[in-house]
Symmetry: C2
């Protein structure tokens, strides 16, 4: 809105806060606010209610670091999950992405970031000790490091592997290679080199 006052401060505040959501900017936040106001009963009221409930109920799982409305979280509490495998991820968004793929029925461990000495992120800032504790408690056969294929992710993976050394657990990491549906022409040299090195019998 302009510096000229055209609406009550309540609407301006709403727009400014909506603009802080990822994916929305000042312009789309204004559109979103208007959409909410014009769909008061169908969307505005239910969304407000859902936010009140989520704000009240959401907590971090004390076992794995997942976000849920219960602690332990739905995944940690699910007896059908294979508790012998722990998939280690950087963030909850990665956990959600892996769950969408429905590729594994394991438990998770959210580190809460990656090691980054320049940004002041040390091992103590991540839930690495908690992971070692979970493995030490027994029953875990494999730890899968599902971290991002970035320098920070790989550094963190190496550090976690070191911490798990000496414990009776298999440590693996995600395969690197050509993404499914990917075209070679568009891939970077590092990915192509890795895909060649890790080639499999056809």
């Amino acid at each position: 809105m302009s510096s000229r006052k055209v609406a009550g401060p309540e609407i301006e505040t709403l727009i400014q806060l909506l603009a802080k959501l990822p994916g929305l900017g000042p312009r789309s936040a204004r559109r979103a606010a208007l959409h909410l106001i014009q769909k008061k009963d169908q969307l505005f009221a239910p969304l407000t209610r859902a936010m009140e409930v989520a704000l009240e109920e959401v907590r971090v799982c004390s076992t794995c670091g997942n976000i849920d409305t219960s602690d332990p979280c739905t995944i940690c509490a699910d007896p059908r999950r294979d508790g012998t495998t722990i998939v280690v991820v950087e963030d909850v968004s990665d956990l959600w992405a892996l769950e969408r793929a429905q590729a594994i029925n394991a438990r998770y461990h959210v580190l809460g970031g990656t090691l980054s000495p320049l940004d002041g992120v040390t091992p103590e800032d991540l839930k690495i000790a908690d992971l070692v504790e979970r493995v030490r408690a027994g029953g875990v056969v494999e730890v899968i490091l599902a971290v991002n294929a970035t320098v920070e992710g790989q550094t963190t993976a190496h550090y976690v592997t070191d911490q798990l050394a000496g414990l009776d657990v298999k440590v693996s990491r995600l395969a690197h290679g050509v993404p499914v549906g990917g075209e070679l022409d568009y891939l970077d040299e590092g990915t192509l080199a890795q895909a060649l090195r890790a080639r499999t019998p056809f």
Copy 2:
């Protein structure tokens, strides 16, 4: 999220409702929900509070149809606004757009849409009679039709003009032509023809 249960229903509900905001889809709604949860105190709580307040306070101005937290709205109640000019717009979003331009210090009238017989939108569905009433009440010198340059917008403009005929008021419409910053090469023939017809002395 997947059909597999990975989080409590409260979070799924929140994501589904966020996905209904314009500018957000299922994927970005998930990201937005996670962002909210991870910025609980800085964003989630204040936004929820702002929504509660706006949901409670927002109303439609009974004079002009603007959306505000007071009735009459901030614009209608502002004594520094020139009440002799009424700018007629289709939607509140158009009013907000004109206010951002800060080009006029007039009052507004929101029709709430355009005439569209195929969609069953008749003059009774729009606030046209209210506009005629406002003009008839006196004190209005000019009505500026700031409707979209679409077939429906122009049809509505003609209808409104007919309804105002006989009343002592000047009716004008927005100029059509080359948008400021526009390149001729990219403009449609209709705009170019109109810009030529309405050429002004240099």
